[in-house]
């Protein structure tokens, strides 16, 4: 930018061919024309050749009946649903594993990252080993480790391991009782939302009061009381509408209850563990990036170590942490496509099956690319907003 401004101040001399502005525009236009021509040529070539090879093309196939079943679906799906819905099921599965994976990876990553800076030798070394192990193994192997090494060696359904609260663990997955919400349970949800809203309001008021008068207020315990207490009250008032459906043994599997399949479990654990190793390093770098003088100055002001971390170090570290954290979130989302190796029906798997059943390879791949691109762009957009809020406000 700066150099352009400097150039602009000089009056253009001689032929316009030597004018840097004209040249700049010319070359930009040239690149644009080449790009458009290239895209056009590729598109044209694909269409012409698909026609020549008598392969049907276009996206009309998405309305056809899928005809195959999918093991895990968050929305209603059967073999009578359309191909579009099958791809949608896969997309939602990808989003589910990405979101819970990102949350878990972030939690593990922060714990391990801070652990690496601990004064306790054992904690520090355990965290170092964790990071070095998971960071240096390809994610696919981590997935196989969980799938074939941990979950596949669990006992068969007939000899399930009994866990507390009517839960079971076997090689078909983790089963736990499903909550059956009876009549009037909407009241509980309303109470929960009300509790959260009130807790937020109380916290705000308490902060304002502390700013104004210096008197603290037990925000934490009040919030807990509101968020837990209100729904409990509503539960009692509406006549205890909650019951549980317990998993039971049948001829083949456990039926009833809620099942978390080993495919999801191993993918989720693998992605979380793998990405957490990178996040830990990012967090460590972020904390190290805050100069020791800040901590010392805060200590000199009389803050306790917890408050120093919470009020002084972490807010500054976050500015360093968030941009590379975004890349890790994107990596996790994209790595979820490795699910295909263990049969978790994510976007790549279902779109791949659709691609194969219909033979629409080009369209199928285009859909997959577009969806992953959109997913990544949305993730970065969200993280950019977070980053903007965290950024140093310069006055």
């Amino acid at each position: 930018m700066a150099s352009q401004e400097i150039l602009r101040e000089e009056p253009s001399r001689g032929s316009f061919i030597n004018d840097p502005r004209v040249r700049g525009i010319f070359f930009q236009a040239l690149v644009l024309v080449l790009l458009v021509a290239g895209v056009w040529w590729v598109t044209h070539n694909v269409i012409a050749n698909l026609t020549r090879l008598h392969i049907a093309s276009g996206f009309g196939f998405l309305k056809g009946r899928a005809g195959f079943d999918i093991s895990e679906s968050a929305i209603a799906y059967s073999s009578d649903s359309t191909y579009f819905r099958a791809i949608l099921v896969g997309f939602i599965n990808t989003v589910i594993v990405a979101v819970v994976g990102i949350i878990t990876a972030t939690i593990i990553g922060f714990i391990v990252g801070i652990g690496r800076l601990s004064h306790n030798w054992l904690i520090r070394k355990i965290c170092t080993v964790y990071v070095e192990v998971f960071r240096n193994i390809p994610p696919l192997l981590v997935i196989f480790f969980w799938y074939s090494g941990v979950l596949a060696v669990l006992p068969p359904p007939r000899d399930s391991i009994n866990l507390p609260f009517g839960s079971f663990l076997n090689q078909r997955g983790f089963y736990f009782p499903r909550a059956m919400w009876g009549e009037g349970s909407w009241l509980i949800l309303v109470a929960l939302l009300l509790g959260i809203a009130m807790a937020w309001f109380v916290a705000r008021k308490a902060r304002q009061r502390q700013m104004a008068t210096g008197q603290p207020f037990p925000v934490f315990w009040t919030s807990i009381a509101l968020i837990v207490g209100l729904p409990l009250l509503a539960y009692a008032l509406s006549g205890f509408p909650l019951s549980f459906e317990f998993p039971k043994q049948s001829t083949f599997n456990l039926v009833g209850g809620f099942q978390v399949r080993p495919e999801f479990l191993s993918l989720y654990l693998a992605l979380s563990c793998y990405t957490a190793a990178f996040i830990a390093e990012i967090v460590r770098a972020g904390i190290r990036g805050v100069s020791a003088g800040q901590t010392e100055a805060a200590a000199a002001l009389g803050l306790r170590s917890g408050s120093i971390l919470r009020l002084v170090v972490v807010p500054q570290a976050m500015r360093i942490v968030i941009p590379p954290l975004t890349s890790q979130y994107l990596n996790l989302t994209k790595n979820s496509s490795l699910a295909i190796a263990i049969g978790y029906p994510d976007l790549t798997a279902t779109a791949g099956t659709v691609l194969n059943q219909t033979g629409q390879a080009v369209e199928g791949v285009v859909i997959m690319m577009a969806v992953y691109l959109a997913l990544s762009l949305i993730t970065s957009a969200v993280m950019n907003v977070v980053n903007a809020r965290m950024a140093l406000v310069e006055r």
Partner: protein, 342 residues
């Protein structure tokens, strides 16, 4: 899968232009000196490497037969192992010249996918296999409601499975993998109760399990699975060569021409045998097709006739011990029938 898919895009962008310019598959094949044959990644009896690393099976032998017809040498063939999901893309994009991978002939594949199936080298049907030791009471597929079923994705099997359970108002949990090895491993590890694929495949897979004797194939056959080789549309000559190679294998069996007696048979007095083996004077039986006149001799020398190929790979001469059944010649009450070679 991914690299194939990317390959298609790449090929779509650049490669197709090249293949459009060149003349025909036969010329391409002759120029490179071998046939690229798409096969299964490993299915006993159809396409699987043996302990010496040599591919064995009906599907690979069929490709050898085509190589023998084209080059007079059954070894001039290279194999590309393909998963169920990769196979059509590989053929469409020109990565393989023939797809001979226990693939079911359907109308959708013949039309929307731009393929041409040449015939049925194996009449099959979909079946179910269970571990009888773990599930002692089960002896019919109609008792399978609630079971976890292992199946390979992107197959007609996957679709038939959904149809069958729906038609019989039963429920099941699909456990779907892309690669055959992954399905086998999952079934062997007990991830699912039932394995479903073509019945011939089940017999082959059973041999590879850790305790083959524990597993039984249930009696029900729930679909028609005519398995056969396919080629790309738009090259009639190549389509005819592959198709008539299949018919020649059947015709040879019908006429009693075997790998052992083919040289004697050349001197036979039977005019039909002489004609088929290209021993008539001024014959154009092979050259019209684009191959040499003794192409049937070459085929039979390389792999034997259809019956020999069957017995060696899946029949009495193999560990699978599958009976000829409907795969017998029409003269013996089966479905295998070749139009006359004349």
């Amino acid at each position: 899968m991914k690299h194939i898919a990317i390959g298609v895009l790449g090929a779509a962008a650049f490669g197709f232009a090249a293949s459009a310019a060149s003349a025909s598959t036969l010329d391409d094949v002759k120029a490179k000196g071998f046939i690229q044959c798409g096969t299964n990644t490993g299915l006993a009896g159809f396409a699987a490497p043996d302990d010496k690393g040599e591919w064995k099976g009906i599907d690979v032998d069929f490709c050898r037969a085509v190589a023998a017809a084209v080059f007079g040498d059954g070894t001039k063939v290279k194999f590309t192992p393909l998963s169920a999901k990769e196979r059509f893309t590989a053929l469409q994009s020109g990565e393989v010249d023939i797809l001979s991978r226990n693939t079911t002939w359907t109308i959708n594949r013949d039309t929307a996918l731009g393929l041409n199936f040449v015939g049925v080298t194996y009449y099959d049907g979909q079946g179910f296999m269970i571990n009888a030791k773990k599930l002692p009471g089960v002896n019919s597929a109609l008792q399978l409601s609630g079971a976890a079923v292992c199946v390979q994705s992107g197959t007609t099997t996957e679709l038939n499975l959904a149809d069958y359970f729906k038609a019989n108002k039963m429920e099941y949990n699909p456990v779907v993998f892309e690669k055959l090895d992954e399905v086998n491993a999952a079934y062997d590890a007990g991830r699912c109760d039932v394995y479903t694929t073509d019945q011939s495949g089940l017999y082959g897979i059973r041999l590879t399990l850790s305790a083959p004797a524990d597993h039984v194939v249930l009696p029900e056959i729930i679909s028609k699975e005519p398995l056969g080789p396919a080629v790309r549309q738009g090259d009639d000559q190549w389509y005819h060569i592959v198709k008539w190679t299949y018919f020649a294998l059947l015709q040879a069996e019908e006429l009693g021409i075997t790998q052992a007696n083919v040289d004697e048979m050349k001197n036979s007095d039977n005019p039909e045998i002489k004609r088929v083996l290209g021993q008539e004077a001024d014959t154009k039986i092979g050259t019209d097709l684009g191959v040499s006149n003794d192409w049937v001799v070459n085929i039979v020398k390389a792999v034997g006739n259809y019956g020999e190929m069957f017995e060696r790979n899946v029949g009495s001469g193999s560990p699978l011990k599958i009976a000829r059944g409907i795969n017998a010649l029409w003269t013996k009450g089966g479905l295998q029938y070749a139009p006359p070679i004349r």
